[in-house]
């Protein structure tokens, strides 16, 4: 009763455009700003499954903030958000240059994705904990972590609180709710769930946020995180940053036939939202909603941020080898800095002049921090962590064999 005809064949998904193609994203369904509803915190997730397939947006083409997700932030907060994004962008630019100058071994920028970390950070309370990837420096900026400390880490200089042990951008600051970044993709997603469970076990009120990229959702830890979060209703926000690319691999390879990555949550009964990651206000509003659900002990929320990695994957990557150069410009969700700027101007609380001035301000701040940091050292010169440090912190107390090795090493 084998009704099949021809032989089997393997399907291998391909991105729409490769170098040489003219990108055209008119097929990407982008919901109108204000069009997607805002469920009640305790609404049955089965009743808003559609929200995993739409895109929550607040800022419309005229720069207005519209719909049920608008209205949470004051003008001052919005201005601070804009400045944070601009700071991150300026910082990234300087560090990219520093890497080319050999001052650090490596760098990864956030270009085009600034809204996500900067807006999410504002939705948290002190004591909450992020488990970030390498592309959430915005969380630190939003938490007012000093730029100099960030640079010290990037330069692996003697001011680096982690003693130069980690690759650039693998920051850590407990005080600023930023868990030590691991280079292993996805591992920290389930740790975020564990941290949140610990908070619940302890009768605390703090919540956790896990971070993962589109490509990394394929990793096992993503599944473990969803299973544990779903079973124990952990107070955690599970963030997926879909910037369309995982190095050279387009998001369709990780996503497969599921339509969206947000849909992954449905198999676990986890409420899942999809949001315009380049819309600062939308990101903040959705983050706030998910954080509040967690805080009310209503359990996890999965949030997919739809965005675009406008730069290379890292300083080791040249994206023109695998995608059209124009793809970034063709991407339909625009630039997060320009969109928030336009909104503030439309509101009459910002201006082109103020913006130019602000650009100078943030650049000054970045340069001042850079001077301070470089006065300590860069990877190639100045004060670096001591070689003795190599042997510290393997354990709290150094065991005899390590003492012996340190001695052998001459330190």
């Amino acid at each position: 009763m084998n009704e099949a005809e021809g032989p089997l064949s393997l399907t291998v998904p391909e991105p729409e455009f490769r170098p040489g193609d003219k990108p055209d994203f008119s097929w990407v369904a982008v919901d109108k700003a204000g069009a997607v509803r805002r469920p009640a915190y305790d609404e049955d997730p089965r009743d808003f499954r559609d929200l995993a397939f739409s895109i929550i947006r607040v800022l419309n083409r005229d720069g207005e903030a519209v719909g049920p997700w608008a209205g949470l932030l004051s003008d001052d907060e919005l201005k601070k958000g804009l400045m944070d994004m601009m700071t991150l962008r300026a910082y990234d630019a300087r560090m990219m240059t520093a890497q080319r100058q050999g001052k650090c071994s490596f760098y990864m920028q956030n270009l085009g994705e600034e809204a996500i970390g900067c807006a999410f950070g504002r939705a948290l309370e002190p004591g909450d904990m992020n488990f970030p990837t390498y592309r959430q420096a915005g969380l630190l900026i939003a938490a007012d972590y000093p730029l100099t400390s960030m640079m010290n880490q990037v330069y692996s200089n003697d001011g680096d609180s982690a003693r130069g042990r980690q690759l650039p951008v693998f920051y850590s600051s407990k005080e600023h709710g930023f868990f030590s970044v691991s280079g292993n993709l996805a591992t920290q997603y389930v740790q975020a769930v564990g941290w949140a469970m610990a908070s619940a076990i302890s009768g605390d009120s703090r919540i956790a946020a896990g971070w993962i990229g589109d490509g990394s959702t394929a990793e096992s830890d993503f599944h473990a995180a969803l299973v544990f979060a779903s079973t124990y209703k952990a107070p955690v926000v599970l963030n997926v940053v879909n910037n369309q690319w995982a190095i050279s691999t387009f998001q369709g390879i990780a996503r497969g036939g599921s339509g969206t990555l947000a849909a992954r949550g449905h198999g676990f009964g986890i409420p899942s939202l999809r949001v315009d990651g380049n819309d600062f206000i939308a990101v903040h509003a959705v983050a706030k909603w998910a954080v509040e659900r967690a805080r009310r002990n209503l359990g996890p929320t999965l949030v997919e941020y739809v965005t675009y990695r406008a730069g290379g994957h890292s300083t080791s990557d040249d994206p023109s080898a695998y995608r059209p150069k124009e793809e970034s410009a063709a991407w339909p969700l625009g630039d997060p800095v320009l969109r928030l700027k336009a909104h503030l101007i439309a509101k009459g609380v910002w201006s082109e002049e103020r913006h130019v001035q602000a650009e100078a301000e943030v650049m000054d701040a970045v340069i001042a921090a850079q001077k301070e940091s470089e006065a300590i050292g860069t990877l190639q010169s100045g004060r670096l962590p001591s070689q003795r440090d190599l042997f510290e912190d393997v354990f709290e107390t150094m065991p005899p064999h390590l003492l012996r090795q340190r001695h052998q090493s001459g330190y």
């Binding site: 609180s161 389930v190 564990g194 949140a196 610990a198 096992s220 912190d393």
Partner: protein
């Protein structure tokens, strides 16, 4: 003094730890309501509540990954992997995360946790219920690895492990759970309740991590063993009439090199016994250290008696398992040389 099986000693250690410190939480597959497939967590859920002792989904990755997050939060998870053979799905979390968190954050975040797991063969468990993966942990900087061989040590070492500020791999030789097994699978086993080494106080005490124990003093040769093999080695010593000194390492990392070196310098001969496959087993490290530090005292090559370099078989278990006879033969070879 109350007598306890190794299972009871392990259960009791966790009971004492949970009673003393609200940060101690216990979880794993079947450890909650049921109390663990080996009963090592029996009664803990009832006594301390579902939020401190609970069943988990079957995801070793999830168990360890969640525990790391909890440890970073400030709890002290003591978790069970149902069999050491099933720790591999969690190996990335153990190696890349638990072991390195303190180092990579320069102490800002730490990972005080214990990962308990039954190890070793001798129960006809075949390839997936018999493995001894200790060398896969000792190679990883940032982990401590402990293997008790008596109920007393099991409780004391487990309490020390739970109180340790760093991640500890706690390997429980399941062949010893109920009785000490004097080396011969075809002879009756003395249950712990009739054995001297099963006296386990009710109260809190610790056995220090990093200290070996000389189980049998001798002048002719030194045997380095741990877990079940301590009994196999002792049986071989008794039966061979060779005056062997049997050292129970108890902690593999950090290793008590001083006790080992002092003994080998005294005897001039060394036999290492473990159940794991030979190549790149922990015996290799022991042999390397002993020849490095006792070279001029050695009168014969160091011998390793180990599991063969094959997966762990089922029907042929007792041909795989290092027997007193194989250890005795090694003793004899080592005594003849030099």
């Amino acid at each position: 003094m109350p007598r306890r099986t190794m299972i009871e000693a392990i259960q009791n250690a966790q009971d004492v730890a949970m009673g003393a410190d609200a940060r101690v939480v216990v979880f794993g597959e079947d450890v909650g309501y049921f109390g663990g497939v080996f009963r090592c967590t029996a009664g803990l859920q009832k006594k301390y509540g579902k939020h401190r002792c609970f069943d988990t989904p079957i995801s070793e990755l999830g168990i360890v990954g969640a525990a790391i997050g909890m440890a970073a939060y400030g709890l002290r998870p003591c978790i069970e992997i149902q069999f050491a053979d099933y720790m591999y799905p969690a190996y990335d979390q153990i190696v890349s995360e638990a072991a390195r968190l303190r180092y990579r954050s320069a102490g800002e975040f730490t990972c005080p946790m214990v990962i308990r797991m039954p190890t070793g063969g001798g129960i006809h468990g075949a390839q997936t219920h018999s493995q001894s993966p200790e060398a896969l942990f000792t190679h990883v900087a940032g982990l401590k690895t402990v293997v008790p061989s008596t109920p007393y040590d099991a409780k004391g070492l487990l309490l020390a492990a739970i109180e340790d500020p760093d991640p500890v791999i706690f390997l429980e030789p399941k062949r010893l759970y109920n009785g000490p097994f004097d080396g011969h699978h075809d002879m009756p086993v003395t249950p712990w309740k009739k054995h001297d080494l099963s006296e386990v106080p009710d109260d809190h005490y610790t056995v220090p991590i990093g200290k070996a124990s000389v189980r049998r003093e001798g002048q002719a040769l030194t045997v380095l063993a741990y877990g079940t093999m301590v009994y196999v080695a002792t049986a071989a010593a008794e039966e061979s009439g060779i005056d062997a000194e049997v050292i129970d390492l108890r902690t593999l990392l950090p290793l008590d090199e001083e006790t080992i070196v002092a003994s080998v310098k005294k005897t001039g001969r060394c036999v290492i016994v473990h159940e794991a496959t030979r190549t790149s087993g922990f015996g290799a490290e022991l042999a390397a250290i002993v020849q490095e530090r006792c070279f001029y005292h050695l009168e014969a090559p160091i011998e390793r008696v180990t599991g063969w370099d094959t997966p762990y078989p089922h029907a042929q278990e007792w041909d795989y398992f290092p027997s007193p006879a194989r250890v005795r033969e090694a003793f004899e070879r080592v005594m003849q040389e030099g």
